[in-house]
Symmetry: C2
Subunit: 472 residues, 2 copies
């Protein structure tokens, strides 16, 4: 089992072979050291170098995860939780080697409590699987990052998506978490009550912790009633600024818009080509309104008035379910549509988030830099949250271009932070953004995060090399 670490850092003071033997004894064929399997369990989607783990284990229960962590802990071998592998920031990489815990066999929906609008799931269930399971209940789980990510992975990165402006992010929609801590202890953070003032909010400490404190194995999730009526629309604007102004006015008017997505003209063009649509190739908002039939009609009418006032419109309505599905499928396919703009290149999706009053300025300055540098870098935004994504398409054979894009991402992050924003709205820190975390929060706040990390995980075995610089 003497596997060479592909780009991993040597850690001679621990005996990985003892751990691999222990895991094989206990889990048999559910442990793999196959190079292809290990490769699949490293970062594959962006420019980050894939750093495979030494082995992959496939547990089926919280108790089994606890056993795995205990076995790894004996030799201080790193533990890397793996959901669907759809992270953009290298969360699943194993820079120090170790054991990837693949939760894809933990697919049980343990309970659906329709009266309480909640459910309990194992962490390997994906968002689409959950919604499929909920089909006949009149309820749905609204958080929708682009990929069909696992709910555990979504919790780990505090994911959100197009519905967050109305329904919140994983922060608001995870009620409780069961997690395995670095010593193997199984912790349930809280119970099923909708609110509580009983002790530290361990749920939200784990949500967004990127696997650096423990492995989340079960989640209690808040569900929402499927709205009686839904209307979707596309609305062109002369500028990104006017589109943002319309969104600010919409939110200030308490119009409970469910989705409001900005596509820049580059993305619209890509989407038209890829999905065979004929959307106006200007900055565009895609919208969705949820409510009663009358309520949706009223929201739509009021939005249309606001859009007109800032020079936007006309709206194109998608009243029929098929048309709506086409529109939102096109939005979720924007990633692939943009990839198709430069098929030989690799897409490097990155995101920042700013107070919405600064969004237009932040997007416009970013677009100006894209133009100045001659990059192909489409922009889409969850504009109701002030969150936007840029997806530079990079020729990975051209070191100079790679370096240019790296600087561009850095500039974008610094711009967002200078506007009281954050270096990531929903992708997480992972490996590449560790340096920006300090820039964003400052030394005292980073020290507090490190203090917590060291207290909970003194041997730094939980997803090391992610989110925080190691302090020992």
């Amino acid at each position: 089992m003497g596997i060479e670490g592909n780009g991993t850092i040597a850690t001679p003071d621990r005996d990985i072979s003892r751990v691999l033997i222990g895991l094989a004894d206990r889990f048999g064929e559910r442990v793999s050291t196959n190079p292809a399997v290990r490769q699949q369990h490293s970062s594959q989607l962006t420019w980050l170098t894939g750093q495979p783990p030494d082995a992959v284990v496939f547990p089926e229960s919280t108790e089994e995860v606890s056993e795995i962590v205990r076995i790894c802990a004996t030799e201080r071998v790193p533990v890397i939780p793996f959901g669907a592998g759809s992270s953009f920031e290298g969360h699943v990489n194993a820079p120090y080697g170790g054991v990837s815990i693949d939760l894809s066999r933990m697919k049980k929906v343990l309970s659906v409590n329709a009266e309480d609008l909640d459910c309990v799931v194992q962490a390997g269930v994906t968002r689409n699987e959950l919604n499929e399971h909920l089909r006949d209940t009149g309820l749905f789980f609204p958080i929708d990052p682009g990929a069909d990510a696992s709910l555990g992975g979504m919790a780990a990165t505090r994911a959100s998506g197009t519905n967050a402006v109305r329904y919140g992010t994983m922060r608001e929609n995870v009620i409780a978490v069961t997690a395995v801590m670095p010593n193997g202890d199984i912790v349930r953070t809280t119970r099923r009550a909708r609110k509580s003032s009983a002790g530290y909010d361990l749920t939200r400490l784990l949500v967004g912790s990127e696997g650096t404190l423990g492995v989340m194995t079960e989640l209690t999730l808040r569900l929402s009633p499927i709205p009686e009526a839904i209307a979707a629309a596309a609305c062109p604007f002369p500028t990104v600024g006017s589109a943002c102004d319309a969104v600010i006015a919409t939110i200030q008017s308490a119009i409970p818009v469910a989705r409001v997505e900005l596509l820049d003209e580059v993305t619209v063009k890509a989407v038209n080509q890829y999905s065979g649509l004929a959307l106006a190739e200007t900055p565009l908002l895609l919208l969705e309104f949820h409510g009663t039939p009358d309520g949706v009609a009223e929201q739509s009418r009021r939005f249309e008035e606001i859009a007109k006032e800032v020079g936007g419109g006309p709206l194109t309505w998608s009243a029929k379910q098929e048309d709506r599905s086409t529109l939102w499928k096109a939005r979720h396919d924007a990633y692939w549509a943009c990839v198709a703009l430069r098929p030989s290149a690799r897409p490097i999706p990155t995101d920042v988030c700013v107070p919405i009053s600064r969004l237009a300025e932040c997007v416009e300055e970013t677009k100006a830099e894209i133009q100045r540098l001659g990059l192909i870098a489409p922009i889409v935004g969850h504009v109701g949250d002030g969150n936007f994504h840029v997806q530079p398409l990079v020729d990975m054979t051209n070191p100079e271009e790679i370096e240019t894009v790296r600087r561009f991402v850095g500039n974008m992050v610094e711009r967002a932070i200078s506007m009281d924003g954050t270096c990531t709205g929903e992708h997480g820190i992972g490996q590449e953004k560790i340096k920006y975390l300090r820039l964003e929060h400052g030394d005292a706040t980073i020290s507090l995060m490190q203090l917590i990390k060291r207290a909970v995980d003194p041997d730094n075995i939980m997803n090391p090399g992610k989110m925080l610089e190691a302090t020992r």
Copy 2:
């Protein structure tokens, strides 16, 4: 300055007099060791024995709070944050003596960012003061515990109130926190972006931490647009169960009710007497709907249909602002109305929270026990959240009755926990509920909380004796 600790526990290994001299040198008349002032800064509202601090300091800025904490830390003298003193669970008591940091001079609203629907305030601003300040902006801050509490205190106890079913609690409405940590470090947890995936959620670690990790000195708060139209109503029900059924159906139907408060018949009677109303003396829901004029009319109509189906109604509408104010003032005065039921007794407000599907059962069983024990104990509930309050009126000269009520509270907590609920929905743990925190969460979860507490506050100077059992 050799003050006797009234009921405080002796801690001979530190020199409080050095700290008091240091504080007096730096803060002059803004330090008080006056017995009356110290007494005011101990728990006064319930049956808990008041445990005054050794001194009270009145800082005016985050930097001054940092100086105070540094001075206290030199001798490991406890620091007890004090807002408006409206806690029911002894949070402001000083069981080990120490210095009360009274934030009531930190009253600045530092910024209102109307386009972003947020503001930044010093922690001593109260909720009514903030809403008064926001008067001309079209925005409001929705969280409304009964008292005009300080926003810092509300954050510390993860407070909520009547609007939480629609607008969330302090957990959802605090965007960022500036806090002074036990070593005097000033930490800002995050920036003003509406969402972020950048690092541990320190905001929510501090919200609800009851002053045991640090002193919150500034808060960035989420604001909401004042709804265009508001309608309020009272609706009687034959039983608590039917009232809860109506609320469950309302929420499942995605009717965005803004307030839905349950009053049991004992409370209704008290409120009628105290506020001169003529509400039906049965289990009663007080409701409020927010939205556009059409939207509110539709919500109200739909609720009325649901209520009728379970035997509730008729609704009495309060369309006019004055009538609405009367109704909600009566609700917020329910505490005093209930006190008036037995003027010689002391009210002991306590709260639990359960999944809403168990609420009727939990309330009914609690009422049955009240009857069995012959207590006077009115019940009000934030029923949309599954949260309810019982307010036994206790003859403090009767030790047997005190003991009976203490057992009753314990039974109520155990009942809530057995229903997957929590020992407190919004009051916090403080002193009395420490034992129930362990019952609710179990040993592994409590150990994790203690681990975090010890890491952040190794000398246990931040509000010691609250929330968690000390481990050293």
